[in-house]
Amino acid sequence: MKKSIITTIALVAFSMGFAQTAEERGLQIAKAAEEADLGFGSSTVELQMTLKNKNGQTSERFLENKTLELTEDGDKSLIVFNSPKDVKGTATLTFTHKVGSDDQWLYLPSIARVKRISSNNKSGPFVGSEFAYEDLSSQEVEKYSYKFLKEEGSNLIVEQDPVDPISGYTRRVVTYNKDKGYRIEKIEFYDRKNSLLKTLTYSDYKLYKDKFWRAGTFNMVNHQSNKETILKFSNYNFDAGLTDDDFTQVALKRAGN
């Protein structure tokens, strides 16, 4: 009897202290990060994208992004290009889904046409940059499986394996900062051959509405091509009060004109 009590205590102690697997802990961290960012409602932001080739030559794009937070399904987003001037007014509307492929439309202002496009091209580069479409789409917990790797000070390092087989990555190694609302500090991307492809570093963080951490700079370095893309965010606005009506095909055309 005594023995069995000791065993039980030991088992309980074990399951409390150690039984959480690395997979469970990884998922828990991703959920905590999602939880910490809940309730922003909607936001608008202006982006400056600088593309650097391996010789250091640069070219720039200016974009505007609107996001609508949804909880039952993935977020909605609308991106409008302001430059280069020949593509000014080109805009995309994306409905992210937690499970399954996203819905995406493209507006071409020169012929005033809205085109539904395939979201199958997630591993391809976004407008010639080092960001793939999947790097910029809404980060839903359901899109990865997780494995906790290690803790370094306030940083929690988690490996994320994309659920979708058409992803360009075998895995991403993500550094969360647990003292700063589980904001992401860094992501390392491993290609399909499992070699290090890119590193994305987040900096110039600001806290909005006392709750939402947003990085002012994303710096993506491609280690294989030595190319680099820098995204600078400005004029974050969490008070735009956007609704579903601002994320329709009618709104997409309006945004592009």
């Binding site: 539904r116 391809g124 580069p125």
Partner: protein, 400 residues
């Protein structure tokens, strides 16, 4: 044209007055200008007298927009001027000049505007609101500004309902005597009349319902008014009687987006007293994306085209297959190439086309286009006029 200008002045006088009175708030102005130099070279000797081989040309495209009320109200302007060796192709147009107001789930536009309907690549059957600018390009994708009042109502569960009031009809322009891609007889647009007694001032209406669910995008439309395509009737004496009929046209367009596949279908049924017909285009596009891990996309396209008008189809696409490939490099310069061919399934006629474009620096772009009319069957009533009109086109644009 004077009356269009009057219509515009009245609409905009109202919009400006409203903008001034209601909004001391932030108004965003935006001006942009494109200057284009173009060279078209027709490398075969002309079939008709007066036609040339070399057509240097210039185009100017100014754009202006003013937005206020957080972008929910705006005035938008797009102008166009082309100067060409063919004095009919030398033309100007107000592509767009409209006031727009959006509120929650509705949007209203008043003025000259461009509206695009449809999903197919090789032929744009359903698209009917705007008149085609037939002298500007061969593919029919350039359009004249259409005076309209458009009301869009977006519902949560039942899609978007669009209502169009179209108070004025604009005639299609055909190439002049010096121009290529014309018929043996030069058609002066002013010689073409209307079936309707109200002529260009016939008050026309259109409706379109657009719905999206899962992989499906569906559009159902109806147009009642002066047709955009003139109807050519051959009299027993051999004369051509051409006019704009009053038509009822119902259109359906569907796209199914599934993984890398886009399945496309467009169909119209057009009724006029002188003519009833059905036309359709059905096909698919499949894209191999990021093939080289560097962003190269290669899309394959195939579409079948049918038109019950047979050889009288102005589009010349009565029973044809289109095959093509869209190549996008997804590079910093947005380099892209579209290759295509349309093959008549009953006759030898084939049209090949290439369109390629690339940006240079941040404000220059270059485009190359080729259309090759190959082995055109002499019995083709319309296409036979273009059998020697294969051309190469180079254009360079500077954006300000």
């Amino acid at each position: 044209m004077k009356r269009i200008i009057l219509f515009i002045i009245i609409s905009f006088g109202y919009a400006f007055a409203k903008a001034q009175s209601e909004t001391p708030k932030k108004v965003t102005h935006d001006f942009e200008l494109e200057l284009e130099g173009e060279y078209r070279y027709f490398y075969e000797d002309a079939q008709f007298s007066g036609q040339e081989n070399h057509y240097p040309s210039l185009a100017i495209r100014p754009e202006y927009s003013a937005e206020w009320n957080k972008g929910y109200e705006s005035i938008n302007f797009k102008g166009f001027l082309r100067i060409d060796r063919d004095n009919v192709r030398t033309h100007w147009d107000i592509r767009e000049l409209y006031y727009q107001k959006a509120k929650k789930n509705w949007e209203l536009s008043i003025g000259l505007k461009k509206v695009y309907w449809g999903v197919a690549e090789s032929n744009h059957l359903v698209d009917i609101i705007n008149q085609t600018d037939a002298v500007e390009s061969f593919d029919g994708e350039d359009k004249l500004g259409q005076p309209m009042a458009q009301f869009s109502w977006v519902t949560n569960d039942f899609g978007t309902f669009n209502f169009f009031y179209l108070p004025y009809h604009r005639k299609r322009t055909f190439a002049g005597e010096e121009g290529r891609l014309r018929f043996g007889v030069v058609i002066d647009k002013d010689d073409l009349g209307y079936e309707s007694g109200a002529e260009e001032w016939r008050q026309d209406f259109a409706f379109r319902w657009k719905y999206f669910v899962g992989a499906f995008d569906i559009g159902l439309s109806h147009f009642y008014g002066n047709g955009r395509e003139p109807l050519f009737v051959f009299t027993p004496t051999g004369d051509i009687n051409a006019f704009y009929p009053v038509i009822n046209q119902t259109g359906l367009d569907v796209q199914i987006t599934h993984n890398a596949f886009l399945w496309k279908f467009e169909s119209i049924y057009r009724h006029a007293d002188a003519q009833d017909f059905l036309a359709l285009v059905a096909g698919l596009e499949y894209t191999f994306s990021n093939i080289d891990g560097n962003g190269l996309d290669i899309g394959l396209l195939g579409e079948y085209l049918y038109d019950e008008r047979d050889e009288l189809a102005l589009t010349t696409l009565q029973n044809d297959m289109f095959f093509g490939s869209r190549i996008a490099f997804n590079d910093v310069q947005d380099t892209s190439i579209l290759l295509g061919g349309i093959k008549d399934l009953e006759q030898s006629s084939t049209i090949f086309s290439i369109e390629a474009s690339r940006r240079f620096g941040s404000s220059w772009t270059a485009e190359i286009e080729a259309r090759i009319f190959n082995d055109i069957d002499t019995s083709e009533l319309i296409l036979s006029n273009f059998q020697d009109d294969s051309f190469l086109r180079l254009s360079i644009s500077r954006f300000f």
